[in-house]
């Protein structure tokens, strides 16, 4: 040919292809005659800058990496807009779409990735685009010019950047994400939640757990229907659900491929004349979708081809989201697990969440939200696998602090270094000087400091600092952190603190509570999650969306789990009364589902045992059909209202205890509480319904109703305290409702009424329920309001298909001899 130099052909005029050429030229500008084929009809540009381009922060000129001058100066022939369609490995030739053929001595494949398109109906309509190259951005900009609504499918890095750009371009954007939290591969649940809140604050609608059923429209996109039936109109749909290495040419040419094109440590494929680099390759089982690893690959490729082979050993990656004003960083492994230690810091006032994961004295992962300043430092510690044991305690405070303190780094040093007039408590405007003075004046516990200065008495986020000041000021004399029962080990807040903050700050989601109240774990534990779920449910009736996965199995499955993993089913029998139709339906269920046992419970109703989780909805359907609803025998809820026969039949009966019991059960059923709650109504002081060991007990007498509270027949028997006597049935019901609401609003999760009444005292309850008529009425009003959302049968909802997955197997494996049969 024109020169005697060997011919190097590069397929792919993108980030990896051109960088590889740059690295080769830097080592030896004269080694090869170079030709680059590019499918896109343009020069080499910075693909990652397509996001700022879409957002209007950059122009195409700004993002060009190599202009035509660069190709000319280096004697590179650029064949753009003409993709290679075949490689002939026997004759060392490539063929392009326009019919051009070229001989190569060395060939580099840098074909990048293809965006993944979910094959839902309508995916090929006009107006459905991906986000990969300039043409895609052009299509999006044209759609944005017309305004209207856009949907982005995919809440990962790419999708969120697309959504951000389209929002800035004036479109109303909805992001559909199939997973429960955004960017779940890069961020943990807590950071994902903060990100979602921030994006919603900018006007985007973010739907998580959203599964697309179809894209519809007459030739052009008109909207999307989700599998749950929701319908969202849109004139533009951006699919950003992932990428797949573009291996078509390599596969057709018979090269070894897996998920990507197989390469060795020098980026050589299974054919020694052909190399591959970038997103299209698979090295050591890994494929990459970021540029940093690609730059490392390009260096090793050039070293291997021209200089001393260095060998590529794989990359550790980190991620940053390019959405202006929202700082997100993640690196390494943050899945936690054995031997991993989580260090979490949350600064609610600045909207900061930081989590680093340490294993065997090494940093192995980091997730930062709101303050990403130390991202690079963490990433560096991570890549170098540095021993961090010396700076362990100060690690989370960042580089400046940890390196400053060196071996002696200790959070208290930072507190000691603060100026006297520096503010410690932002909520109440308390300075460090004031706190120190209070301590010197004798406030020697956190609670004492709170009482005399108000520091840390509101949101509590400065609690750590106040404790630090106690430790520094008092030295040896400080008894140490306070001894109060916190919700669990994930937090330093008490139940009361948490409940107060939920109301005062208007917190509405579990991750939001964890962030605002500085939880020290990423997603809580089996103790705090159910408690938080209940507190939120109680605080925001009708508003809060219950978190099913934060409930114990029984409440999640609406049945009681048994030792063999089957369930028992207890339909409600109002006041213990039943009839032939209900009894027949129960008998039929026992027969139909082969229930091994049916038993009369201690709560005056029937319990059907041994039902499999798959059969529960069918059992409930049959019971529902006979007019029966859930008895909530499984819940921290109203359980039973036991009654005796009362004045209708009994020769001693003074009032209609059965009728009153039924009315009370109709009023109270379905209510979630801190713990289970039992009521009984006895028709006379003989007390056949055992009213004096119930949470709320009524004993009918000639002149009215004796109301008593705080009884318990369980592990530690406690007889009720007499609250008061009332004259009418209506009063008995009103006091009952008010008492339940007081318990709902003020008791700690998993406190029965007995220990709660003992803690707060009967006098307190009397003052609130008996003496304060206005307060009682308000409590009752709040209870009935809450009940207006609680009284629909959870079984009926399951029968109608809600959460059906909880009752079905994912699949089934049936090995038949040596073969497998699929289901």
């Amino acid at each position: 040919m024109t020169t005697g130099k060997p011919h190097l052909i590069v397929i792919g005029n993108g980030m990896a292809g051109c960088r590889a050429v740059e690295e080769i030229l830097a080592r030896d500008p004269d080694r090869y005659r170079i030709t680059i084929f590019g499918a896109e009809p343009r020069v080499n540009y910075n693909r990652i800058m397509l996001s700022p381009l879409l957002a209007g922060e950059k122009s195409f000129e700004d993002i060009v990496i190599n202009d035509l001058g660069w190709y000319a100066d280096n004697g590179i022939e650029l064949v753009s807009g003409d993709p290679v369609v075949a490689i002939d490995r026997v004759n060392l030739m490539v063929n392009s779409r326009s019919g051009r053929t070229e001989h190569y001595d060395k060939l580099i494949l840098a074909t990048g990735s293809d965006p993944f398109i979910i094959p839902v109906p309508g995916h090929d309509l006009q107006g459905v685009v991906t986000f990969r190259d300039m043409d895609d951005v052009g299509a999006m900009l044209r759609a944005a010019d017309a305004g209207g609504e856009a949907i982005v499918i995919g809440g990962g890095l790419l999708g969120l950047e697309a959504a951000h750009g389209l929002t800035l371009r004036g479109m109303k954007v909805t992001v559909l994400h199939i997973m429960p939290t955004l960017m779940e591969r890069q961020l943990d649940e807590a950071a994902g939640f903060l990100l979602k809140a921030a994006l919603e604050g900018r006007g985007q609608t973010i739907l998580t757990g959203a599964d697309t059923a179809e894209i519809y429209g007459q030739g052009r996109v008109e909207g999307i229907r989700l599998k749950d039936g929701r319908d969202i109109p849109a004139s533009l749909v951006v699919m950003a659900v992932g990428i797949r290495p573009n291996v078509k040419l390599a596969r057709d040419a018979g090269l070894a491929i897996g998920r990507g094109i197989h390469v060795d440590d020098h980026l050589v494929t299974s054919d020694e004349h052909i190399l591959a680099v970038g997103e299209c390759v698979e090295h050591n089982g890994l494929v990459y979708g970021l540029v940093a690893p690609i730059w490392e690959m390009c260096r090793s490729l050039a070293d291997g081809l021209i200089a001393t082979p260095s060998g590529y050993t794989g990359s550790v990656t980190s991620t940053k989201l390019k959405v202006s004003g929202i700082d997100v960083f993640s690196a390494g492994d943050f899945s936690g697990g054995e031997g991993c230690e989580d260090i979490v810091m949350r600064d609610a006032s600045r909207g900061v969440y930081k989590r680093v994961i340490v294993k065997d004295d090494k940093l192995i992962g980091a997730v930062l939200y709101g303050d990403t300043q130390d991202g690079n430092w963490y990433f560096d510690l991570l890549k170098r696998a540095e021993d961090v044991s010396e700076i362990r305690d100060a690690l989370i405070f960042g580089q400046a602090f940890a390196s400053g303190g060196g071996a002696s780094a200790n959070p208290n040093v930072a507190v000691a270094a603060m100026a006297d007039d520096a503010e410690v408590c932002g909520c109440n405007g308390v300075s460090k000087g004031k706190v120190v003075t209070a301590i010197n004046d004798g406030a020697c516990t956190l609670d004492a400091v709170r009482a005399c200065t108000k520091a840390s008495a509101s949101c509590g986020s400065c609690t750590g600092m106040v404790e630090g000041l106690l430790a520094i000021t008092m030295g040896e004399a400080y008894a140490g952190t306070r001894d109060v029962s916190t919700v669990c080990k994930c937090t330093s807040f008490t139940h009361e603190d948490v409940r107060r903050n939920i109301i005062e700050k208007g917190l509405k989601f579990i991750p939001e509570v964890m962030q605002q109240l500085h939880w020290t774990t990423p997603d809580g534990c089996a103790s705090c999650r159910p408690a938080l779920n209940y507190y939120l449910l109680c605080a925001w009736p009708g508003d809060y969306v219950d978190d099913n996965q934060s409930r114990f199995v029984n409440e999640r499955m609406h049945a009681n789990i048994q030792k063999d993993g089957t369930y028992s089913v207890v339909p409600r029998m109002w006041g213990g009364i039943t009839n032939p139709r209900e009894l027949r339906a129960i008998a039929d269920v026992v027969d139909k589902f082969n229930a091994p046992l049916v038993k009369v419970t201690g709560g005056q109703r029937l319990d059907i045992f041994g039902i499999k989780k798959e059969d529960l909805p069918a059992v409930w359907a049959d019971l529902n059909a006979a007019g029966m609803v859930s008895g909530h025998a499984y819940g921290k809820t109203l359980r039973t209202v036991k009654t005796c026969v009362g004045s209708d039949w009994c020769r001693f009966g003074t009032q209609d205890s059965t009728g009153l019991g039924v009315k009370i059960e109709r009023m109270t059923w379905g209510s979630f509480m801190p713990h289970k709650f039992k009521i009984a109504v006895s028709g006379c002081p003989r007390n056949c319904a055992e009213s004096t060991i119930k949470d709320f007990g009524i004993i009918c007498v000639d002149s009215g109703y004796e109301l008593s509270i705080g009884g318990n027949g369980g592990i530690k028997v406690r007889v009720t305290d007499l609250l008061c006597k009332v004259v009418t049935e209506q009063e008995a019901m009103d006091y009952c409702a008010a008492f339940i609401q007081l318990y709902r609003e003020e008791a700690r999760y998993l406190d029965r009424t007995a220990p709660w009444v003992e803690r707060v005292g009967l006098d307190y309850i009397t003052a609130r329920i008996v003496d304060d008529a206005v307060g009682r009425e308000a409590l009752r009003g709040r209870f009935l309001h809450s009940q207006s959302f609680m009284q629909d049968d959870p079984w009926a909802k399951r029968v109608a298909g809600e959460d059906y997955k909880l009752h079905q197997h994912l699949a089934e494996i049936r090995p038949v001899a040596k073969e497998l049969v699929s289901v």
Binding site: D211, G337, Q549
Partner: protein, 114 residues
């Protein structure tokens, strides 16, 4: 469910509830529980608590552990070992996600089949 050499494809990942689990019976063998963590990772264990055989699939999932629904043992989803004071271990079945599908180790899944 499809069969593919050493891996069994048991379905798309979107069939797993967030922070929850689903079950996979193996005829003639032990039921398997497939877990989904907050970070979107997937793990598989024999659905049998080492304590008294409680169905782990019904526990609360947090971080990379599941708390058994029967007596609150905490089991690591990664190693299958009981954590804290408790002692015991349940078989782990390897999982990988490919193209949005859940694949589990065939040999381990069938290990309990007699």
């Amino acid at each position: 469910m499809t069969i593919n050499g050493t891996w069994l494809d048991i379905g798309p990942i979107d069939q797993l509830p967030a922070l929850g689990a689903r079950t996979l019976p193996v005829a003639g063998g032990q039921e398997i529980a497939i877990f989904h963590t907050a970070n979107g990772e997937v793990y598989a264990l024999a659905n049998k608590c080492p304590h008294k055989a409680g169905p782990l699939s019904q526990g609360i999932v947090h971080d990379t552990t599941v708390t058994c629904p029967l007596h609150n043992w905490r089991i690591s989803l990664i190693t299958g070992k009981a954590l804290g004071e408790d002692d015991g271990c349940v078989p782990v079945i390897p999982v990988k996600i490919d193209g949005g599908r859940i694949l589990i180790g065939r040999a381990e899944a069938l290990a309990s089949v007699v």
